[in-house]
């Protein structure tokens, strides 16, 4: 165990930051140090974590996707609208879930076509597709705020695995989603680390030309990436609708920054080629820890976005400094060489 390298890894710094932050919040407001808080943080992190897993895959491959919340709300909202218009079984949970994921994959396929098929730079491509998706959703699917979502989805919001009620402490609820989400996280981690697809994603992030010369079909891998991210976003979108117990097409807009911040904080390099699921999970936890408990720290909640901005800034500054230190140590010149 090389302890020095272990301490330098961003995941360790993150765990440290989470512990320090939790202690500070706990000292200022002892009611924070309870099981209820831990369960609450989990509940508020669910949707972001699923988005973040998708974004992680994209960032590791060297791209960036800002259309994922739009895909999410498009899929979720459309699934609910379809259930209402086609008068499908309102008690079912599988139907909206599957519908949302399928819509998400379809939208992801559009991204795949534009990015892998035409080769347009990922930021501009997803900026464009986000506009198209949002415009189409608001024009063709509807703009109505749906407060009465199908019964099955609505009941799912309160489907708790563990429920600890006590007269002295606040209600502690652990949603049943912890089981599938944990499985999903482990699954994505396995996908990234132990399958050819995962290795191809990392290879793509290390350099698309080099990956191509290795014999990896970059276009096919990219297409799969964006369709996978689309499906994950669709899944996150329908869960969002369910947990919020309402469907509004204006939701989730603007949340891409929080998710990207979480992934970058988790150690994923925006240049591609590096990033871990564990780091992403920690990043999401940290962001939600801060956002949810600013009030307990004595800061009004209108500073939430600024707090995320500061975190993101710290994260990228640290990344940039470590990157430049690494480059100086190298003796062979590379593309990212910093000419001092």
């Amino acid at each position: 165990m090389n302890f020095k390298r272990l301490f330098r890894r961003s995941e360790t710094i993150l765990i440290f930051a989470i512990i320090v932050l939790s202690s500070i919040i706990g000292i200022k407001s002892p009611s924070f140090l309870s099981i209820a808080s831990i369960f609450d943080i989990f509940r508020s992190s669910i949707v972001q974590l699923i988005f973040a897993l998708g974004v992680l895959i994209v960032i590791v491959s060297g791209g960036i996707d800002i259309s994922f919340p739009t895909i999410g709300i498009f899929s979720g909202y459309t699934a609910v609208v379809l259930m209402q218009r086609l008068e499908l079984n309102p008690n079912s949970l599988i139907v909206p879930l599957v519908a949302s994921v399928i819509i998400g994959v379809a939208l992801g396929a559009v991204n795949a076509l534009v990015i892998a098929g035409f080769g347009i730079p990922t930021l501009i491509a997803t900026l464009g597709t986000a506009g198209i998706f949002r415009g189409c959703m608001l024009s063709f699917v509807g703009i109505t705020f749906i407060s009465e979502i199908p019964v099955g989805l609505d009941n799912f919001a309160t489907a708790d695995l563990i429920r600890i009620e006590s007269p002295t402490a606040p209600l502690a609820r652990l949603h049943i989603l912890i089981i599938p989400i944990t499985l999903l996280t482990i699954g994505i981690s396995f996908l990234l680390r132990r399958t050819m697809f995962g290795r191809s994603v990392y290879a793509l992030g290390g350099g698309s030309e080099s990956a191509r010369r290795l014999g990896i079909s970059t276009r096919r891998v990219q297409a799969k990436i964006y369709m996978l991210v689309g499906g994950l976003s669709g899944f996150a979108g329908i869960l969002f609708v369910s947990l919020q117990r309402k469907a509004s097409p204006y939701d989730l807009a603007g949340s891409e920054l929080d998710v990207i911040a979480a992934v970058v904080l988790g150690g994923a390099s925006i240049m591609g080629g590096y990033g871990t699921v564990f780091g992403t999970v920690l990043g999401v936890l940290l962001i939600n820890l801060i956002k949810g408990n600013l009030i307990l720290l004595g800061v009004s909640s209108s500073w939430q976005r600024a707090a995320v901005g500061v975190l993101l800034l710290i994260g990228i500054t640290v990344q940039a400094i470590t990157e430049s230190k690494k480059v100086r140590k190298r003796r062979v010149s590379t593309n990212e060489e910093v000419v001092a």
Binding site: F118, G128, L138, A261
Partner: protein, 323 residues
């Protein structure tokens, strides 16, 4: 550039023909002339950062921050009569521009000195500036700006709308800067090939710093124009302007990987998109159709650029094979 003029004329005739009484009126053209400048100035700011091969996503956040601070100062010094001494209006504007320069400086430190990717750096600063604006104002907007200031945004200068004149002056200045100064030439060289520029003894980091500072300055001026026109400043205004600015810049012929772009192309593209928006409005299209149009145009233009570039490359390969 020529194709852009054609597109502009095509859109103009299309909408004038289909909606003559609403679109092809002096009222409509005047109101377009009032809305074009702020978007054009923002697009020029994006163009500058794109010329060096980067991008500035924080333009809207900077413009809102500058507008908010300037508006706050102006409303703070309102007299009982509802006017503000001219000194404070000028001071507020200057401080607003200073805010823009400072924000641009933060961007340049991140991109030029710390070598952070521009996408990520400006995403972070966008979040930060937007967050600070929301935190300072609690998400509320500042309104009730003094009348003299509003006259700037809604008045005329020798017959043309004042903001339009301001846009033309700024566009001319920036065009002069990039086409006829050493700094401008270095910007183009860095955008074309950063490594070659470094090896040619060009102080690339200093040049990139200047582009982001000027970009921030332009964004703050755009923010002041917006505040003057709408008589309000809010931390969340114009969130859709980023997509719009990038569509305009790409349509205007700027290469997203840097090295090529013209101010006149960007201004013309702004007019095209404003005509599109106004035309959709006149035809009573759902406002979200405009969003779909923006996204589709962005992708269509990028695809077209790539196809043309591929054809140009294969043609030059053929030519070199023949000789």
């Amino acid at each position: 550039m020529f194709q852009l003029v054609l597109i502009a004329l095509f859109i103009l005739t299309l909408f004038s023909a289909t909606s003559r009484d609403v679109f092809f009126t002096s009222y409509n053209f005047t109101s377009m002339a009032y809305q074009i400048p702020e978007v054009a100035i923002l697009s020029i700011a994006v163009m500058l950062s794109m010329l060096t091969g980067g991008i500035d996503l924080s333009i809207v956040a900077i413009s809102n921050a500058a507008a908010l601070i300037a508006s706050y100062i102006m409303t703070h010094h309102l007299n009982a009569a509802g006017t503000t001494p001219n000194f404070w209006i000028v001071a507020a504007c200057l401080i607003g521009i200073l805010v823009g320069i400072l924000c641009g400086l933060v961007n340049s430190i991140l991109v030029a000195l710390l070598n952070v990717t521009p996408i990520l750096a400006t995403l972070a600063t966008m979040t930060l500036f937007n967050g600070i604006a929301i935190g300072l104002t609690n998400g509320k907007s500042v309104s009730g700006l003094p009348e003299q200031f509003l006259r700037l945004g809604n008045g005329t200068f020798f017959g043309l709308p004042t903001p339009f004149v301001a846009m033309i002056i700024l566009a001319t200045l920036v065009s002069f800067l990039i086409n006829r100064t050493g700094l401008g030439l270095k910007v183009f060289l860095i955008g074309t090939n950063r490594k070659a520029a470094q090896y040619s003894a060009i102080a690339d980091r200093k040049v990139i710093m200047w582009t982001y500072v000027i970009s921030g300055c332009l964004s703050s001026i755009a923010g002041l124009v917006i505040a003057s026109r709408t008589s309000a400043a809010s931390p969340d205004f114009g969130a859709s302007y980023i997509l719009l600015a990038i569509v305009i810049v790409v349509l205007g012929g700027v290469n997203p990987s840097g090295g090529f772009g013209t101010v006149s192309g960007v201004v013309l593209a702004t007019m095209v998109l404003q005509m599109l928006s106004s035309g959709f409005n006149a035809l009573r299209f759902n406002q979200f159709y405009y969003l779909v149009a923006q996204g589709s145009m962005l992708i269509a233009v990028m695809v077209l650029n790539l196809v043309l570039e591929g054809r140009r490359k294969s043609r030059s390969i053929h030519q070199s094979r023949r000789t």
